[in-house]
Subunit: 198 residues, 2 copies
């Protein structure tokens, strides 16, 4: 086949996470059959994202402006800083609409196995931000994995002298979760942090 | 969030088959973090596909030329015509490299439930192609589903007067398949069409 344009598109699409060669072919046929309604708009949206999306110099979020819309929002509380591993975690917290402070994206976690030390992460700018004294509370919202918790402890040490309160997310039973399906660690954490019903 | 470019991209990506909102967000972050190596080339490939890909007027295949590369290939045997439901089936047969004749894409199957009759499919051009007399054999390579087989029988009737031999794909045990996992219909078809070992 000399369908170089189509093959090239399939090959690029198959590099996306969640799409293999077979689903990339399916997606390509789907796109070509919806040329005006999906393929052309998607091409345009990707070109615009490639041209316009920036990393926020203050928090590490992705947006079309720098500083990002969250950092620039005067209604958000600048005295509470939430530290997350990745932009996807920041988006998840924003979707929950439960947090109205500022964010700081680390860009990963410390990992001895993968050779990721403090210098590979966005930690030094975090320490500087906290040391300015504006921030009263730092919430370490890292994943509840071994690497995430190691990084939380490291950050807690590094930030201890700035005078801000350091907190972490609560561990416990997920809302809607059934005890029978939970692991021992979660159950024991939920039991340890039990709360009065009143 | 005012990340309109990013949200727009996520929303469009989530319309692809196999990608939901969550995997579209993941794919978007993946794309943005590989801006030069993947996002920009993918935007370009999609724009080119949107501009250049045509439906072949002869067989119904998708290509950047009309007639497509397969129809225009003088080395392929014009006396054998393989009828398939969709372009994806044509691609599958081409990947097998087992067929060197020409194709005809129906664009679907007859389906009383979905209200698809002969006029909705690429059948009249097929009858005309076969009636020219160049074609000696028509292979009905439709899916082995009820609709596919109904369509095969209908086409077999319609093409019976043209003088070409009408064949269909063999039913049987898939290569690498285990008898224990096969359905009764396949086993009985494989038994009925058993072949001499010599």
């Amino acid at each position: 086949m000399s369908q170089s344009d189509i093959d090239h598109l399939i090959q690029l699409l198959s590099k996306l996470p969640g799409l293999g060669p077979r689903s990339a072919r399916r997606a390509t046929l789907y796109l070509i059959s919806r040329r005006e309604s999906l393929l052309a708009p998607l091409a345009k949206a990707m070109a615009e994202a490639a041209a316009n999306v920036k990393v926020c110099g203050q928090c590490g979020n992705l947006d079309t402006t720098d500083p990002c819309a969250i950092c620039a929002d005067m209604k958000r509380d600048p005295s509470i800083l939430c530290v997350v591993e990745d932009v996807s975690d920041l988006w998840a917290l924003e979707r929950s609409e439960a947090f109205t402070g500022q964010y700081h994206v680390l860009g990963g976690t410390l990992s001895a196995l993968d050779g990721i030390g403090p210098d590979e992460l966005n930690i030094e700018p975090l320490v500087q931000r906290v040391n300015t004294g504006v921030i009263k509370e730092v919430i370490l919202a890292l994943n509840a994995t071994v690497d995430g918790q190691t990084t939380s402890h490291y950050l807690s040490d590094r930030l201890s002298e700035a005078g801000a309160q350091i907190t972490r997310l609560a561990h416990g039973v997920p809302v809607g979760g059934e005890l029978d399906y939970l692991d021992d660690g979660t159950l024991s954490a939920a039991l340890k942090s039990r709360r009065s019903m009143s």
